[in-house]
Point group: C2
Chain length 332, copies 2
DNA sequence: GCCGTCAGTTTGATCGTTCAAATGACGGTC
DNA sequence: GACCGTCATTTGAACGATCAAACTGACGGC
């Protein structure tokens, strides 16, 4: 196949210079109308496309954002991340940005990858997910002043007023709070919470939303596992038959609870999940929807500014370095 | 922050030339041991990283593969694609390749994106998914001799002996065949198939696997939808109570069937799904696992050769232009 | 008639790497 | 001792775009 045309080829055909072609492509408004039309015709005639690598080299910008994919966990929770990746790709495309995936099995491996990608100019910024207390990645990135945003708050002293870095997260407490309020409004008075063992920031937040919604009822604890959840709920219901609603920290737990409720022959008990995965949708359970689309928009807003098209390094300012998305209860 | 070091900086510190540094990075075996060690020390000391864009510009290779993400459908089936993307990212990383996502809502939009990405040198090849009969994308790509592989067969006259392009797919008939055989082995003799309306290649394949496994039993047809599936199965069972096994074309359908079976109080009926999504796992249903990891490996093998590290344009040769993955029945 | 301004366009330099060809060192062969 | 081949390394050029600065007319003010 013939060599791909370059700016010079277009310039020759249109009877202008390289730079004018470049201007037509990048900043059309500074070119005179007549010239612009001539150049555009030449571009169309030759089928010219800017060569991405050359542009990246000169501008020192890749217009690409990296995002980590965990080793596939198999569980239900991965769905939220996948939806987030979907949404991020769509939103990024609207701002002329690309999304590059990278895989890593351990934080150390991930740090090595991050170095290659960011310092090699492969990406302009990264989105890291699943942050935890004392996460080595954030410190490493901050030390080098590399641009990034995390999906998941820093879990530091004060994430909002003195944020260590940019972050986006879903307000888990608001989600379980809404679920609890919904059950209260439907006449349930004794509402249980089915959650994970304490210490995980996310789980604690979700529990807080239930507790603060004036819910009286037992708190059941179990690992993230459908059949374990089922057993815990079965035992819990036997001990406390007055429960008429169960708010769960995840959809996996909700499915377990649903199975226990069904087996116990207690259709009067309403189970509400968290994440609104296809699995609970199929079962007809209500669930808290994380709105990954809003999370994706928020991440880009933080990295690039509200309407920017380039990644601009930003110093985290009190109150302005995060986006906290209010989830939505999907009632079924 | 200080300017990132370049090959020249490393060369100066190590007392060698640019090119030798480049050789140490790319073809270490042609550099004398002593020199190599000196250069490696300099690289480590300066924290040098090759600049991706410069390398891409010079080598005319991006070492990146593009893959399309459909607009998020919400259903269960998207999970297989997401797992495939996961696996592709991991396998690609092992071959020093990156995976770039792109979004498009229509085939036309996708073609525009493909042009930008491939002809602009942003990616070396693309993986297209969800091919259908008369797909405009494949023709467009073939016309321009752009490297690509599809997840999903071309659905042409003879995909195997006279393939139009490279493709990977899962042997759907083998999957439903295995499911049917499993039920027969467990003593079921009357086995129903719950599938989609005819005409979709994928669905027809899956039905064929059931039919050819010497299964006698009704064939129920319904759109991909949990509650519709439930209703169809409920009606079917009422009309034909002798059925003791149901092989389904998807997990969504299987969940519907499972609900109908449960409501009908027929625990003797076994339901088998297709895709092995977290949802059926949570419900404890058996399902046919597509093995997206093998599909990903197959796609890369086709694009780059068994052990290659660069995308090599390949002419589809009879029998050697596809990978057909044998799925695995997961019994629960 | 001269000068400054400004919009529109062109020119030269540069981004960091790898390719292709040239160079140098060394040993073996006749 | 001249020649050749091989191995390790160096040198000059090129990849295709954009930045920054220089240039060109046209226009208006004085």
């Amino acid at each position: 196949m013939a060599k791909a045309p370059t700016v010079d080829d277009v310039a020759r055909v249109a009877g202008v210079s390289r730079q004018t072609v470049s201007n037509v492509v990048n900043t059309p408004d500074i070119v005179r109308e007549a010239t612009r039309l001539r150049v555009e015709a030449a571009i169309a005639e030759l089928g010219y496309r800017p060569h991405a690598a050359a542009r990246r080299l000169r501008t020192r910008r890749s217009s690409t954002i990296g995002i980590h994919l965990d080793p596939y966990a198999g569980g239900i929770s991965g769905v939220v991340l996948d939806r987030f990746v979907h949404a991020l790709t769509e939103r990024a495309g609207e701002r002329d940005m690309r999304v590059l995936l990278y895989a890593a099995r351990t934080p150390e491996e991930e740090i090595a990858r991050l170095g290659d990608l960011l310092e090699g100019g492969e990406v302009d910024a990264v989105v890291i997910t699943g942050t935890f207390h004392g996460d080595p990645r954030t410190g490493w990135l901050l030390d080098r002043a590399l641009p990034f945003v995390s999906f998941g708050r820093p879990w530091g002293e004060d994430d909002v007023e003195a944020p260590a870095h940019l972050w986006v997260d879903v307000d888990g407490a608001a989600g379980t709070g809404a679920a609890t309020a919904h059950l209260l409004g439907r006449g349930s008075s004794r509402i249980a919470f089915l959650g994970w063992p304490g210490g995980s920031g996310t789980g604690d937040e979700r529990e807080r939303g239930w507790r603060e919604s004036a819910a009286s009822g037992p708190r059941w604890v179990v690992e993230e596992n459908v059949s374990a959840a089922r057993d815990v709920v079965a035992a819990g219901l036997a001990a406390d038959p007055g429960v008429t609603g169960i708010v769960c920290a995840s959809d996996s737990l909700a499915i377990g609870a649903h199975l226990a409720v069904t087996v116990a022959g207690r259709p009067d008990i309403t189970v509400i999940g968290f994440d609104n995965t296809p699995a609970v949708e199929a079962l007809g359970l209500s669930s808290v929807e994380q709105l990954p689309e809003k999370v994706a928009s928020g991440a880009l807003d933080l990295l690039m500014g509200e309407n920017g098209t380039v990644v601009a390094p930003r110093v985290p300012t009190a109150g302005a370095a995060h986006v906290l998305v209010e989830p939505r209860l999907v009632v079924r």
